[in-house]
């Protein structure tokens, strides 16, 4: 095992500054690990040569004393972030050969800060899913195995390639996008940290859209500190995105180590349904104890509209997606399946290019917007969305943050197909309300199940209160002393 891939960014940076190691050596260690863990299928596209070239440039900047805040940070990027000259597929056949001539704003910012893109990670097709099994490029395998090692597990999704690569130490940090839990859920199932920032904190420019009013980019890392570092560099206003907030991004690192004494943590009773997995419930209680020990006051709260969050989400997200995905028509880019007429070309291309789950969601979305259904479904869902948001606003009158489990279960087996669509949608039950309201949420690993699988807790906060999230997440991290998967143990 290479020790380099075990270290946090600040430790690596110190070593480079001390001239104990070069960025090229670090990047080499990571690209070697990418090869060793290839069977996880975490990456759709890798770019080791380009990464090494950028590492050289980073080394030169270190030598000149001109190092940037993230110089030499090996970064994996979910394959729905456009990167100039690098194939970007969103996990879909319809974009199998799409090479953007432009780079998404967040990647631009991170690369500008010195981070090095090592590859593009696998994902559920167009981010639609919670398992990274709907990708055209095959499923990603969770680096964690249950104790019996019997079968491969899902990494969660849709950003499962990113969470798996961070867990497998084939990247130091990764970018994901979260529409209904797609950062936090895979972070929990892979035992890493992941944050979905406030809607509008990070630019959506250059990110392949799923549901525009819910999508938000965010980082993964193995530590809260590295996660905070990445978010600090990628956040901020972008004039190319009309939904980007005008906001002065604080230095999130300053929130780490701050006391939470006297702060209030809300525990929503609706998140403890009768059938909640006992181990998850146990770790939730354990986390509450840690926070109490650190001086926080724990308060039971009620979020009564929680149960309506999922059905609301399953109207709004497909509706927006059905429109966002209309541009994939075989005319300007992407797959084209010829047809006698243009209309045939559209239908053949979209039928061949989209996978089944994407098709189902496009059809659901088309249906809820169609004549006679709009008011009954879409408009009603928007009103319920407001109710869900009001729930949170009321809660934050009383508490600073809210603590819930990130997922209802640990990772399940690949191929253990959930045929009941509603059971499948329930994967997102703890995460979607956050996206509906636009508030931030962070998932932190807290422990392992008896099977030996990671469990994550989620800290939610009011709009733009990411500092509080990091502050609490750091306390939890310190208390949990969660052991990341060693790069060697794979």
């Amino acid at each position: 095992m290479n020790e380099l891939i075990q270290l946090s960014y600040s430790a690596l940076r110190q070593k480079v500054l001390n001239k104990e190691v070069t960025v090229q050596e670090i990047v080499k260690a990571y690209t070697d690990q990418m090869q060793k863990t290839e069977k996880l299928n975490a990456f759709v596209t890798i770019c080791p040569d380009q990464a090494l070239k950028q590492a050289q440039e980073a080394d030169q900047r270190f030598q000149k004393g001109e190092a940037r805040p993230l110089d030499g940070f090996p970064l994996a990027v979910k394959d729905n972030f456009c990167v100039q000259g690098m194939r970007t597929t969103a996990g879909s056949k319809i974009l199998e050969n799409f090479v953007p001539t432009y780079t998404s704003t967040v990647v631009q910012k991170l690369v500008g800060a010195g981070s090095i893109v090592v590859g593009k990670t696998n994902m559920d097709e167009f981010a639609m899913g919670s398992s990274t099994t709907t990708s055209f490029f095959g499923p990603t395998v969770n680096p964690w195995k249950s104790k019996d090692h019997a079968s491969d597990l899902i990494p969660g999704g849709s950003s499962g390639g990113s969470s798996a690569s961070v867990a497998a130490h084939s990247s130091l940090g990764a970018l994901g996008s979260d529409t209904g839990g797609s950062i936090r859920q895979p972070a929990a199932l892979c035992g890493v940290v992941g944050i979905k920032p406030t809607y509008g904190l990070c630019s959506r420019y250059g990110i392949i859209a799923f549901a525009s009013s819910l999508d938000q980019a965010g980082p993964f890392a193995r530590t809260v500190e590295d996660t905070a570092l990445l978010l600090r560099e990628m956040a901020g206003h972008d004039s190319k995105d009309s939904t980007s907030l005008q906001y002065q991004v604080p230095d999130y690192l300053k929130a780490l180590g701050k006391s939470i004494r006297g702060m209030k943590v809300g525990i929503p009773k609706e998140y403890r349904p009768d059938g909640l997995n006992a181990e998850i419930a146990h770790w939730w209680d354990q986390t509450i104890l840690w926070l109490k020990d650190a001086g926080a006051e724990v308060v039971e709260i009620s979020l009564p509209y929680t149960k309506y969050g999922l059905p609301t989400y399953y109207i709004i997200a497909p509706a927006e997606a059905s429109s966002n995905l209309a541009r994939y028509d075989g005319v300007r880019y992407g797959l084209r399946v010829p047809g006698g007429t243009l209309d045939d070309l559209y239908s053949y291309t979209r039928t061949a290019g989209f996978g089944d789950e994407v098709k189902r969601r496009i059809l659901i979305g088309t249906y809820v917007l169609s004549a006679g259904k709009y008011e009954d479904y879409y408009l009603r869902a928007q009103r319920v969305r407001q109710c869900v948001t009001n729930d949170f606003n009321a809660a934050y009158q009383k508490v600073d943050v809210i603590l819930t489990p990130t997922t209802a279960n640990t990772a399940f087996k690949i191929g253990e197909n959930i045929t009941d669509p509603i059971a499948m949608y329930l994967q997102d039950v703890f995460t979607v309300t956050t996206n509906l309201a636009g508030i931030p949420g962070i998932s932190v690993p807290v422990g392992l199940s008896k099977e030996g699988l990671p469990i994550g807790m989620q800290v939610l906060g009011p709009m733009l209160q990411e500092e509080k999230l990091f502050q609490f997440a750091h306390i939890i991290e310190q208390a949990a002393r969660f052991k990341n998967l060693g790069g060697h143990s794979l």
Partner: protein, 491 residues
């Protein structure tokens, strides 16, 4: 309200017309991207990644375009929405890269305007405007470059349009044509749109139906592709005949989209029968609502230029022009400017009103005729307004007769010379010397004894004959007023 019914062998018909006008906003860049707007350019050069709907691209609205819609709404006396929203109109079409058009459906930026048109009988009529909304234009498909391919050019894709929708208030081709003329003029005064129908910056869709008076409206057809005011008249007339013929032979009118064919002056059903449309409008989550303040609207209101009707009223009140004359002068952007420059340079007139009327007559008479012949617009006139004023001043000073002035004008229009110089060089100065004129009159009396006798026996009408003869003998230079006096005295 006036009614213009159509009478056929079976009785009376009433025609109902509503218009949907797409006016291209005169902006430098597109509604949601920084690519240039352009009329003619190489294909796909005035296109940004946003206009081509590349994955991950997002719209950002152009402030200027919003302001133009507000301006236009105010000029058409509409209510400006303090909160309006961009919606997506979802459908698949070759020139629609996003798979949806960003438009305004539920909450348009302007509602409830109106515009007055002039009827043929001289009365005016109010045409109500239902709404004005902002939306993106589509690209263009080119069908004639390849035997079995269509080519797509996205240069126009994303250009800002104001869609101006009238209520079905018009009852004849004349009314629809006059509405478009008036609207076009207002847009040009505002500068919010070039309003060139032949370049496509003003496009009109005509909704038309016929019914028996006193019965509900008939099924309407929508006619697209009508790109001149004359064609609007033709398309409506053809469509009226077609619809009446159908109904009179017990057939029905289909609710459909038809294309106007300029070569035959007829309309035809669009060949591609589209499925029942279901546009699935919903608010575009990539954009924020347009939120305006009363203050902003007030500022735009204050920035509005004087509009054609206001200018006409002022010309009538200040310059004593007839409604007709004032209408002619304000019916384009440059003429009223030219006119008022002429007025500014008029000197030495005792009767200002007389001078203003004379200037108006000269512009809409001689000048328009000459420019028309040369195919020039008034801002390219070889006679600058200052020089026309000099010419009129010579008339006012009695140095030129109207007839001589016309001769001078002919030379001016060809050479652009100053009128005084022409008068000097050609010796065209009016003869106002009493002695000289009396000699000419005496000669005329002497030459026409028979006529003099008849005149004296009561044939008053012959007076004009003597004036004409005197004028002729003087080579057109005689001062007409003085001739009158002298003739009266001597006869």
């Amino acid at each position: 309200m006036t009614h213009s019914f159509i009478k056929t062998a079976t009785g009376l018909w009433e025609v109902v017309i509503g218009l949907e006008v797409h006016a291209q906003v005169k902006s430098l860049s597109k509604l949601f991207s920084g690519a240039a707007t352009s009329f003619a350019a190489d294909p796909n050069t005035k296109v940004s990644l946003v206009d081509a709907a590349l994955p991950g691209m997002l719209p950002v609205v152009n402030k200027f375009c919003i302001e133009q819609a507000v301006k236009t709404g105010l000029a058409l006396r509409g209510d400006i929405a303090l909160h309006s929203v961009f919606d997506r109109k979802n459908y698949f079409y070759a020139d629609l890269p996003q798979g949806y058009q960003i438009s305004q459906f539920y909450h348009p930026i302007v509602r409830n305007g109106f515009l007055e048109i002039d009827l043929e009988n001289g009365e005016t009529k109010t045409i109500h405007i239902e709404r004005i909304h902002l939306e993106q234009d589509a690209g263009k498909s080119i069908h004639d470059l390849h035997p079995d391919k269509s080519f797509i050019d996205l240069n126009r894709s994303g250009t800002a349009l104001m869609e101006i929708v009238t209520k079905p208030d018009m009852r004849s081709a004349h009314e629809a044509m006059d509405f478009i003329k008036k609207l076009r003029l207002i847009l040009r005064y505002l500068g919010s749109c070039d309003a060139n129908m032949d370049e496509g910056s003003l496009r009109v869709d005509v909704n038309i139906s016929v019914h028996r008076p006193g019965t509900p409206f008939g099924t309407r057809a929508e006619i697209k592709n009508v790109n001149s005011i004359r064609f609007i008249g033709q398309a409506i007339d053809h469509e009226i005949n077609r619809q009446i013929a159908l109904l009179e032979s017990d057939q029905s009118v289909d609710q459909e989209t038809r294309l106007f064919d300029a070569s035959s002056g007829t309309t035809r059903s669009m060949r591609s029968k589209e499925d029942a449309q279901d546009y699935r409008y919903f608010p575009d989550p990539d954009l924020r609502p347009i939120v305006l303040t009363e203050d902003y609207i007030q500022k735009v209101q204050e920035s509005l230029p004087e509009l054609p009707n206001e200018k006409r009223t002022r010309f009538m009140e200040d310059y004593g022009l007839s409604r007709y004359d004032a209408t002619v002068l304000v019916s384009d952007l440059e003429t009223p400017l030219y006119y008022e420059k002429v007025l500014k340079n008029l000197k030495g007139w005792k009767d200002q009103i007389e001078a203003a009327k004379l200037a108006s007559n000269w512009i809409s008479g001689e000048l328009f005729a000459a420019l028309n012949e040369k195919n020039l617009s008034i801002d390219k006139s070889p006679i600058a307004p200052e020089k026309l004023a000099q010419l009129l001043n010579l008339i006012g000073e009695g140095k030129l007769s109207g007839r001589l002035a016309k001769d001078v004008f002919e030379i001016m229009i060809e050479t652009g010379q100053e009128p005084e110089k022409i008068v000097d060089e050609k010796g065209l100065v009016q003869i106002s010397d009493t002695g000289a004129l009396e000699a000419i009159v005496d000669q005329v009396i002497k030459d026409n004894p028979k006529m003099v006798e008849e005149y004296k026996s009561g044939k008053d009408k012959l007076f004009g004959f003597f004036v004409g003869q005197t004028m002729k003998l003087s080579g057109g230079k005689a001062n007409p007023q003085m001739i009158n006096e002298i003739l009266k005295r001597k006869l």
